[in-house]
């Protein structure tokens, strides 16, 4: 498996003129890798993912999957979204098996549909959702919904899984649980993952490689190989190590160039009345 982005760029037409969402970007992803696109919001990392998924068309450049040009969405590029995208009328098991009912996948499945359904079942078990197979999405918590969404994408055996900030809407604790689960899955399934996040720690902890995007208009400013071994060897205490902190600091400074957010706002801040020195009700 090899995913290649060649001079991929996207420009939107807006009332105030063209908006560059992604300036020409090239990189490639090897099979089995966990590659994260890290950047501030609006840098085009999600746009890049949408282009790889085929949900948007590039203004220029191309995406190649195993040498074949991507022209639209397809089952070999599964996707997990930030928003909850379970089908509310299907229960957890039916959601997970959704892809097995589609004509395109029937043709792809070499082992046949029963095997695919069996796969869905074991993925749900791995995700700790066996007891919730008959539950409907409205009965699930946010973390559970995302677990089902991941299982649903993996049931289909995609060549690459695209994840667009899948844990952004979750609370910190659930998020950490989900990260562990994702490492477990990556170890177990050896799926290629292209992950998007703005969280530096999440990027380092999960990935074998991090591509850092500059603020708008986005382009890749750094390509970092994460030296903490394969997914199987990563444990939460890795986040506490010195090496981890150093890498985190390095990437953080790339995301926040300059001294800080207050740059150039000194005059503005001065104009604001200090609430401790002046009473609101004289």
């Amino acid at each position: 498996m090899k995913l290649e982005l060649r001079q991929l760029a996207k420009t939107y037409a807006a009332k105030s003129g063209a908006v560059v969402a992604l300036s020409p970007t090239s990189f490639s992803v090897e099979g089995g890798a966990f590659v994260t696109l890290l950047g501030p919001s609006g840098c085009g990392k999600s746009t890049a993912l949408q282009l790889v998924a085929g949900l948007e068309e590039p203004t220029s450049g191309e995406v190649l999957l195993d040498g074949a040009r991507v022209t639209g969405p397809g089952p070999e590029r599964g996707m997990v979204f930030q928003s909850y995208t379970l089908f509310p009328w299907l229960n957890v098991f039916e959601n997970t098996c959704f892809s097995t009912h589609l004509a395109k996948n029937r043709a792809r499945q070499t082992a046949g549909q029963p095997a695919a359904v069996e796969r869905a079942r074991s993925l749900l078990e791995l995700m700790g959702l066996t007891d919730f197979e008959r539950a409907y999405p409205r009965e699930l918590s946010g973390g559970m919904k995302q677990r089902v969404a991941i299982a649903r994408a993996l049931t289909n055996c995609p060549k690459v899984v695209l994840m667009d900030e899948p844990f952004a809407a979750l609370d910190a604790q659930t998020r950490e649980e989900m990260q562990e689960l994702l490492l477990l899955l990556h170890t177990h399934e050896r799926t290629t993952v292209l992950f998007v996040t703005h969280d530096v720690e999440e990027a380092i902890y999960l990935s074998s490689r991090v591509l850092v995007f500059s603020p708008r208009p986005g382009r890749v400013v750094r390509d970092v190989s994460v030296p903490f071994g394969p997914s199987a060897e990563r444990r939460p205490d890795l986040k506490l190590s010195v090496e981890f902190s150093e890498l985190k600091r390095e990437l953080f400074s790339l995301l926040h160039p300059g001294a800080g957010a207050r740059d150039g706002r000194g005059a503005l801040l001065d104009k604001l009345v200090n609430p401790t020195t002046r009473s609101l009700h004289p």
């Binding site: 998924a53 085929g54 949900l55 639209g72 969405p73 397809g74 089952p75 590029r77 599964g78 996707m79 979204f81 928003s83 995208t85 089908f87 509310p88 009328w89 299907l90 229960n91 959704f98 892809s99 009912h101 589609l102 004509a103 395109k104 996948n105 792809r108 539950a135 409907y136 999405p137 409205r138 009965e139 918590s141 969404a149 649903r152 994408a153 289909n156 695209l162």
Partner: protein, 316 residues
């Protein structure tokens, strides 16, 4: 979370039971002393602190079910009392505001008359035929309008235009086009509901989140499969609710439809009574139309809950 709810509710009752028993025990011990414990046990037996204070005028907050039902019944009673009071006043003409007694009398006569059931049957068939025709045509068309911009551009503006034409104004044209038999009556009911329904179905189809379509494509769905397995299935509860509203409107067009050379039917009968100023009978028939409408509405709602239990009903 759902699994936890009943357990905690159970714990709650146990707790109440426990505290009640404690009170009973204390009461037994405090026998003959005339203690104020009697107050504690009075009322519903629930400790005062546990009784939740109902906020009657909080925005969108639920009120107890019993009070909701009492208010619903109270609305009917209040209108009935107002009517009874009004009908006794000198300044109202008894021809327009008949006394409850005279309406009651008329109701007895009408309900025992066989022609009532012929009227109900004739009207029901007309309304249902017009409504079903609108549904069979409107639902697929609405789904297409909500799914493809091409169909929306082609059909939405013209539909918006047509739906403002008043239905009674079409009677002469429909009599020319469809004759004076059943067909023109059915078509009048159809025209009153079809255009509204198409627009509502299109809206409901558009309400299916775009992310659901995107995720279906990335799972390998073809456009036709997305239409059938996602758009249609996701829009169904909303479409069903649109059908409920349209069925209600279909009944309101009944009187208009039965202006056209009818010989029976609820709307026709109302028109006939009005010609002879038999207001008590008019009221009986109007009440009957209300009962039929309300009954159908309740049926539709119950069916919706049964069929689409998965939907988040709190927003509906």
């Amino acid at each position: 979370m759902n699994a936890v709810a009943p357990a905690s509710a159970l714990a709650g009752t146990e707790c109440d039971l426990g505290s009640r028993m404690a009170i009973v025990a204390r009461k037994t011990l405090a026998l003959d002393k005339g203690t104020p414990l009697d107050d504690e046990l009075s009322g519903s037996g629930v400790p005062r602190a546990a009784r939740e204070h109902t906020r009657w005028f909080e925005l969108r907050r639920d009120i107890p079910v019993w009070s909701y039902r009492a208010l619903a019944a109270g609305g009917f009673v209040a209108v009935g009392l107002l009517w009874a009071w009004l009908s006794q006043r000198d300044f109202v003409n008894p021809v327009f505001v008949p006394t409850p007694a005279s309406v009651w009398e008329a109701a007895g006569a009408i309900l025992s008359d066989e022609s009532l059931w012929l009227d109900v049957k004739a009207s029901f068939i007309r309304v249902t035929a017009g409504f079903l025709l609108a549904a069979i045509m409107g639902v697929p068309l609405g789904i297409f309008m909500g799914s493809f911009k091409v169909f929306e551009g082609l059909l939405q503006p013209i539909t918006e235009f047509v739906r403002y034409i008043p239905v009674p104004a079409l009677i002469p044209i429909f009599m020319v086009l469809f004759g004076i038999d059943e067909l023109s009556k059915i078509m009048l009911i159809w025209v009153g509901t079809f255009f509204q329904l198409v627009l509502m179905v299109a809206d409901e189809t558009r309400r299916v989140p775009y992310e659901l379509l995107q995720v279906s494509y990335t799972l390998g769905a073809r456009r036709r499969e997305v239409l059938r397995l996602v758009m249609w299935r996701g829009a169904r509860p909303g479409i069903f609710d649109a059908l409920r509203l349209c069925n209600g409107w279909a009944w309101t067009y009944l009187v208009v439809a039965e202006l056209v050379a009818a010989n029976e039917g609820l709307g026709y009968r109302v028109l006939k009574f009005s010609r002879f100023l038999q207001t008590p009978k008019i009221w009986v028939y109007l009440a009957l139309l209300g009962v039929i409408g309300l009954g159908l509405d309740i049926l539709f709602r119950a069916a919706n809950r049964q069929l689409f239990h998965w939907a988040d009903t709190s927003k509906r």
